[in-house]
């Protein structure tokens, strides 16, 4: 495919998905420092919320250093060119959170459901769309169903008013041909004006390759994260993907050296532990486990004396989906008891 001049919207995740490895403890100053750096580098869209989206603050997912309201109201006024997006998972957050984010000037609302449960998003997508927001339907764990099944769910979200649909590889499990198959089918059957996006995790080291497959199959929005800061082995490292696109002469509007500097000088120093492919994060990608289970499995593993890798494999066996962090301690206790 010829990338020359092709417009691709890069969407940074480090201040939302990156909240997972940071246990939702990024400070307001750190948020502003990174967001202004990304803005200056020309990244057009930046996601900011609790790692589990608006209203994610909880015992189950972790209490953040600051509320969504504090994060959004601090970051948004500082943006010169970049727009800010917020994630919302129905069942966790509600339309009240959505209205709050809209009032604070969020440009984009991404309504996320498990890939088979799009119909829980009707009221949220409908409202965001009615408010004139850039409204994204975000189908998580998209590896768990076929391309045809994914299409049916995408059509529902499109019918509720989403102007962009994401194929979301929450487990970092997909291989490039699986991305191609899904995006191609979505492209051929959704409205031509509906944008398509891909959200990858780097658990199999395929974030960049999968993102390229998505673009080549018709996606024009790609999620990544500066220095890869995100759940599991992180998201597609944004500066790496931007550099690849630059080589291919695609049009992202991003200054890759400025972006590299943000990743190197602002994001990497923030990491509590290096976000990388290791035994546990590779297990996520290999077995198809929701990436943000990683730290929960490590903690439960330590507490109950069960290898975290075994916990993650058991979560895969039980077909756990996004949001079931509570099952991890339960599983660890059961596994410890049966030893």
């Amino acid at each position: 495919m010829n990338y020359q001049g092709k417009k691709i919207t890069l969407h940074d995740m480090c201040l939302r998905d990156g909240m997972h490895p940071k246990r939702h403890q990024i400070s307001l100053d750190e948020m502003v420092d990174i967001a202004t750096g990304l803005d200056d580098a020309g990244v057009p869209l930046i996601e900011v919320t609790h790692g589990d989206g608006l209203g994610g603050t909880s015992v189950n997912y972790g209490f953040p250093a600051h509320t969504d309201k504090e994060y959004l109201s601090t970051v948004i006024p500082r943006m010169k060119r970049a727009k800010v997006s917020a994630l919302l998972l129905p069942g966790i957050g509600t339309v009240d959170h959505l209205k709050m984010a809209a009032d604070l000037g969020v440009n984009t609302i991404r309504v996320a459901t498990h890939c088979t449960e799009a119909d829980v998003s009707e009221q949220h997508i409908g409202m965001a769309s009615d408010m004139g927001l850039d409204t994204v339907g975000f189908l998580m764990m998209a590896h768990m169903i076929s391309a045809e099944q994914l299409l049916q769910q995408a059509l529902l979200m499109e019918s509720y008013g989403a102007n962009c649909i994401y194929c979301t590889d929450s487990a970092g499990y997909m291989l490039p041909h699986q991305v191609t198959e899904r995006i191609q089918l979505l492209r051929s059957r959704l409205k031509p004006e509906t944008e398509l996006g891909f959200h990858g995790h780097h658990n199999l080291g395929l974030g960049v390759a999968n993102s390229m497959a998505a673009v080549e199959a018709g996606a024009n929005r790609i999620d990544g994260s500066a220095a890869g800061l995100g759940a599991g082995a992180g998201n597609t490292p944004l500066e790496v993907f931007a550099a690849v696109l630059d080589r291919l002469e695609a049009d992202t509007g991003v200054d890759i050296f400025k972006l590299m500097a943000v990743a190197e000088e602002k994001v990497v120093p923030l990491m509590d532990e290096l976000v990388r492919v290791d035994r546990d994060s590779l297990t996520l990608g290999y077995a198809g486990v929701y990436s943000s289970f990683l730290l929960f499995a490590k903690r439960a593993g330590e507490k109950y004396g069960v290898p975290s890798q075994d916990i993650l494999l058991e979560m895969a066996k039980r077909k756990a989906i996004g949001g079931q962090e509570d099952l991890i301690e339960d599983v660890a206790m059961e596994m410890a008891g049966s030893r």
Binding site: S58, V59, N60, P90, G91, I92, T94, V95, D96, H114, T116, E117, D119, V120, E122, Q123, R318, K319, A320, I321, G322, G323, Q324, D326, L327, E329, D330, M333, E334
Partner: protein, 298 residues
């Protein structure tokens, strides 16, 4: 006892039918009417069980309620039509047990606040909160009756097959109503509810995790005892209400892991979330019936 209290069910769908099957075994309640809005499988089933049926909504039953001595009406339809249904059956002197999220009457979680409701006397309408509320609020209360709970949070994981279109269209109603009842009935200062809909096959049995943050250091012994006692209370009407793990104590966090398997009357066993609603609704009617029978309530 000499005579059972007669009841009607509005909504001949899966929940209404499951409730009917449970009510047919009751010592206190005798189901007499099944109310639908058209001919349907559910109406046919009810007829086969010997029920009188209306295919013309509540209006088709109302003229017969006095003569048939209907004391209780269960509404298993939707919040949109509930208020009207309730008004009509109240006019005929029946108590409405509301299984919809309308919540125009007081919340009722049987082992937690039904005795208090009964002390207040006859009520026109009681609301059964949500499935997640029925499954978790007894546990929040089991902790809060021992010591102050600053924050109560529940995570209900239910099988995709057990979540109907009404709940899906307004999933916020679940989170809001449940969170409100965690505070009001559960006794937590602040409540939060999360629902996860999992499509796994075979369908998973309803799971519930209850997290409480106590104000002071948790009294482990007393909380554990209280939780075990509360589990027994719920098991009286939902035998498949099972403590899987916990209570786990971690600082001031108390976490309880539950599984709720249904009886499998009409609904499949995995949908404990629906079973606990029908069982709690029937239990509520039975307790009112017993109080009326004993003369505690006029």
């Amino acid at each position: 006892m000499s005579k059972k209290f007669k009841a009607a069910i509005i909504g001949p769908g899966n929940i209404g039918t499951d409730l009917l099957m449970k009510a047919m075994r009751s010592d206190w309640i005798e189901p007499v009417w099944m109310v639908g809005i058209e001919e349907s499988e559910g109406i046919k089933r009810a007829r086969d069980f010997g029920m009188k049926v209306s295919t013309n909504g509540v209006d088709g039953m109302v003229p017969h309620m006095k003569e048939d001595e209907i004391d209780f009406v269960f509404d298993a339809t939707s919040a949109y039509v509930h208020a009207e249904n309730s008004r009509k059956v109240n006019e005929q002197g029946a108590i409405m047990i509301d299984l919809t999220p309308a919540a125009i009457g007081p919340y009722c979680i049987p082992p937690v606040n039904l005795q208090d409701l009964l002390k207040e006397g006859r009520t026109p309408n009681v609301n059964m909160v949500t499935c997640g509320g029925q499954a978790t609020i007894p546990m929040v209360n089991a902790v809060s009756r021992v010591q102050a709970v600053e924050y109560g949070e529940i995570v209900a994981t239910v099988s995709s097959k057990s979540v109907g279109p009404g709940t899906r269209k307004n999933i916020d109603e679940f989170t809001r109503t449940t969170a409100g009842a965690i505070e009001q009935i559960g006794g937590a200062d602040k409540g939060k509810a999360i629902i996860i809909v999992n499509p796994a096959e075979p369908p998973l049995i309803m799971r519930d995790t209850i997290h409480c943050l106590t104000k002071d250091e948790p009294n482990q012994e007393r909380i554990t005892e209280s939780v075990l006692e509360m589990v027994k209370q719920v098991q009286k009407y939902v035998p498949g209400y099972t403590l899987k793990n916990g209570p786990v104590f971690d600082g001031n966090r108390v976490t309880i892991f539950m599984e709720v398997e249904g009886l499998g009357d009409f609904l499949p066993k995995y949908s404990g979330n629906l079973d606990i609603m029908t069982a709690a609704a029937l239990r509520t009617a039975e307790m009112y019936a017993e109080s009326i029978h004993n003369g505690d309530i006029a």
